[in-house]
């Protein structure tokens, strides 16, 4: 499923709430938690991470992974946590509002 415009950064922030992850890990996590519904394009995720880093919402560091490999890990900064809270409430409002408008699934005409 295609992502809504602008939600990718929010998803990445949310994923990092559980702890530091590398770029591939983030992509896998989003795919996993969404039960493979959301297909993340790495080509879009990677620049999104760079943007978040530039804004100071996440920070990166080279570390040794569980498979004993060097990898760049991203973690949430306090500023990013604040931003996530904000985006979360905005997102909930948005979902609620859209749900209100859409209402129940309309019955199919026979």
């Amino acid at each position: 499923m295609e992502l809504l415009q602008g939600t990718l950064e929010m998803l990445a922030l949310r994923t990092l709430l559980f702890g530091p992850l590398h770029g591939y890990g983030i992509a896998k996590a989003i795919r996993g938690t969404s039960n493979e519904v959301l297909d993340i394009e790495f080509g879009s995720l990677y620049p999104a991470l760079k943007r978040l880093e530039a804004k100071g919402w996440i920070a990166s560091k080279w570390e040794i992974s569980e498979h004993n490999r060097r990898a760049k890990y991203y973690r949430l900064t306090p500023l990013g946590r604040k931003q996530l809270v904000q985006e979360h409430s905005k997102w909930s409002e948005f979902v609620k509002a859209v749900a209100d408008v859409m209402g129940a699934t309309p019955a199919r005409k026979a």
Binding site: H22, G23, G43, P47, K50
Partner: protein, 629 residues
């Protein structure tokens, strides 16, 4: 955060970041399944874009590439650059002339308020030289409410005065002016003071001198004030020094004396001295008064004068802005010159465009490859425009350097009486024009071949193995259009030049009413000794007479300058009516065979006849026409 991160402006920061990205992507690639992450090149590319400098970096890359291209085709591009440099240099140099002479405000307070009242005849014989009478001046001063001040100067008074005539006589440009002239122009003297109304009404022999004369005669000493200058045979007291950029009423005026101290003023034999048209009247408009309103008021006053004194008021009086009075004669010439060099620049551009088009068809393959690799039309356009900007700016820089040499050359070539030539220089306005021209030319020249490049069909061009594949039809049409336009402009320029020469020939062959060929005039300055001799009825010759000069059949001496032959006729007519005034006695004293002047003494003619003298050598044919001896 949107926008640019300044740290990425530094090249080494960019390189470090680039290495980091490559390393990170490499590690991720090893973790993921093959192909799972998609194109990592694209990911890296997109990441770089978040720095916010990609666009500018591309521009720099294009500039680097442009210079690389220039390096490969040195002769071609040095030709292009020098053509453009020539076009831009000429435009900028001539613009500097136009700017200095026509566009810059005059160096006087509120110059837009300054006007000149000139007379003009609206019916034959059009016998006016623009001057007004003293009576006109008094009437306008009393009745015209459009002007805050009026000043007068004697027309051609002392046109050449002779300074310090005891030793080497020095001809100078002098002027008899009203005391308020200096204040009206908002200028005060460097040293001393200008003459007062009292000094004027007492007709005192006082002079204000120019800075140049002050330097020359007094070595810029403050002691100059109060000293005497011998002018003609009289002593005049120096009371002030005017700054060097005060050019009123003539460009090279070096002496100003009170109007009422002019010798003619006390000539009792002069009939109607108040009505003689020999004054230049300058006026300053009151703030907020339009030129047209002033003209209406002057017209109504003039109508009243015509009713009262019809015989002296046959002319109309026109209010002319002072700048127009000064530069009116050269204005059209300058604009024609400017138009001509603009046409030249156009031709240069068309030439370069043609050269570029010829090369663009050679480069078709290059653009086809770029398009195949994913370059959009905008990207190719940008590359070509940047390339063109690079060489047009190089042309601009070279052009400015050339213009710096051209401006002094143009100033040296300009006629010596060109107004305001002092204020002409290559300045920041010329530089701005050069920049504007370079950019405009660059954009235009870049777009022309780009238009062709983006239209080319990639497949055809790629398939065509030979480099000089046949040109496409639209490109051929475009080129022939360019050549046609170039030819048209060149024809216009040539025709214009031809017509100019034709009018010049026509002016030369105008019949002035006498035969001007083989007539020479030679101005001479006279030593004081001669001035003590009888001045009125006959020309006093040195005892030996004017030496013979075999090359001349007839020579004569006159106190009037003959630079305008039409002028002379007019004056002659007038003299039949009026008694000759002191400084015009020359024409009455023409002998049928004047002793000629030797060639040996030609260089140092220091004797002659009249106090304000000019010797005029004439041929015989001129004789019967206007003089009755």
């Amino acid at each position: 955060m949107k926008g640019r991160n300044l740290k990425y402006l530094l090249p080494w920061r960019r390189r470090a970041e680039e290495r980091d990205i490559q390393e990170e992507l490499h590690t991720l690639k090893q973790m993921a399944e093959p192909g799972e992450l998609g194109s990592l090149t694209l990911a890296a590319e997109n990441a770089r874009e978040t720095w916010g400098w990609t666009r500018i970096e591309n521009v720099f890359a294009d500039i680097r590439y442009a210079f690389h291209t220039f390096g490969r085709q040195r002769i071609f591009y040095s030709l292009v650059i020098s053509i453009l440099a020539l076009g831009i240099a000429l435009s900028v140099a001539v613009f500097s002339l136009v700017d200095g002479i026509l566009l810059r405000p005059l160096p006087y307070r509120n110059p837009q308020q300054l006007t000149m009242l000139t007379s003009y005849a609206n019916k034959p014989p059009f016998s006016t030289n623009g001057s007004l009478s003293y009576n006109d001046y008094l009437q306008f001063r009393a009745k015209a409410h459009s002007f805050s001040a009026l000043a007068i100067t004697f027309r051609n008074g002392w046109s050449r005065v002779t300074l310090n005539a005891e030793t080497d006589p020095l001809p100078l440009q002098g002027a008899f002016v009203s005391p308020n002239l200096f204040a009206m122009f908002g200028r005060s003297p460097l040293l001393g003071h200008t003459f007062t109304n009292e000094e004027n009404s007492r007709a005192e022999r006082v002079v204000v001198i120019s800075e140049g004369l002050w330097r020359e005669r007094f070595g810029s000493s403050p002691q100059a004030i109060g000293q005497d200058l011998v002018i003609g045979r009289d002593r005049w007291k120096v009371i002030g020094v005017m700054p060097s950029d005060f050019h009123i009423p003539f460009l090279n005026t070096q002496l100003w004396a009170p109007v009422l101290s002019h010798p003619d003023w006390h000539d009792t034999e002069e009939p109607n001295p108040l009505e003689r048209q020999r004054w230049d009247v300058m006026a300053r408009l009151k703030p907020g008064v339009a030129l047209a309103a002033a003209q209406r008021e002057v017209d109504s006053i003039e109508r009243g004068l015509k009713n009262a004194l019809p015989e002296f008021h046959t002319d109309e009086v026109r209010v002319v802005p002072l700048r127009e009075h000064f530069t009116g004669k050269v204005e059209r010439h300058l604009f024609i010159l400017f138009a001509a060099v603009s046409f030249l620049l156009l031709i240069a551009c068309a030439n370069v465009a043609n050269l570029l088009l010829a090369r663009a068809s050679q480069r078709e393959r290059e653009f086809a490859i770029r398009t195949a690799l994913g370059a959009g039309q905008a990207r190719i356009l940008r590359q070509l425009v940047i390339e063109a900007l690079a060489f047009s700016c190089a042309g601009g820089v070279l052009g400015v350097a050339l213009a710096l040499c051209l401006v002094p050359l143009l100033k040296a070539l300009a006629p010596p009486n060109t107004p305001l030539l002092d204020s002409v220089s290559m300045n920041e306005r010329g530089l701005i024009l050069a920049l504007l021209l370079s950019v405009t030319v660059g954009v235009l020249l870049g777009t022309a071949p780009a238009w062709q490049a983006v239209r080319c069909r990639v497949n055809d061009s790629l398939k065509a193995a030979e480099r000089n594949a046949t040109e496409s039809r639209p490109s051929r049409r475009f080129k022939s259009l360019l050549i046609t336009a170039e030819f048209a402009v060149a024809m216009t320029l040539l025709t214009g030049a031809g017509l100019l020469i034709r009018s010049f020939v026509a002016v030369l062959s105008v019949n002035p009413g006498f035969h001007a060929e083989r007539v020479l005039t030679v101005p001479i300055a006279l030593p004081a000794i001669l001035l003590h001799q009888e001045r009125r009825s006959s020309i006093a010759m040195p005892p030996s007479g004017l030496p013979r000069f075999p090359a001349f059949r007839l020579s004569a001496v006159s106190a009037v300058s003959f630079f305008s032959m039409k002028h002379v006729r007019m004056r002659c007519e007038r003299w039949r009516v009026m008694h000759p005034s002191r400084n015009q006695l020359g024409l009455h004293s023409f002998g049928p065979r004047f002793p000629a002047i030797t060639s040996k003494r030609w260089g140092s003619l220091s004797y002659g006849a009249a106090s304000f003298g000019k010797a005029t050598v004439l041929n015989r044919r001129w004789w019967p026409l206007s003089i009755r001896p």
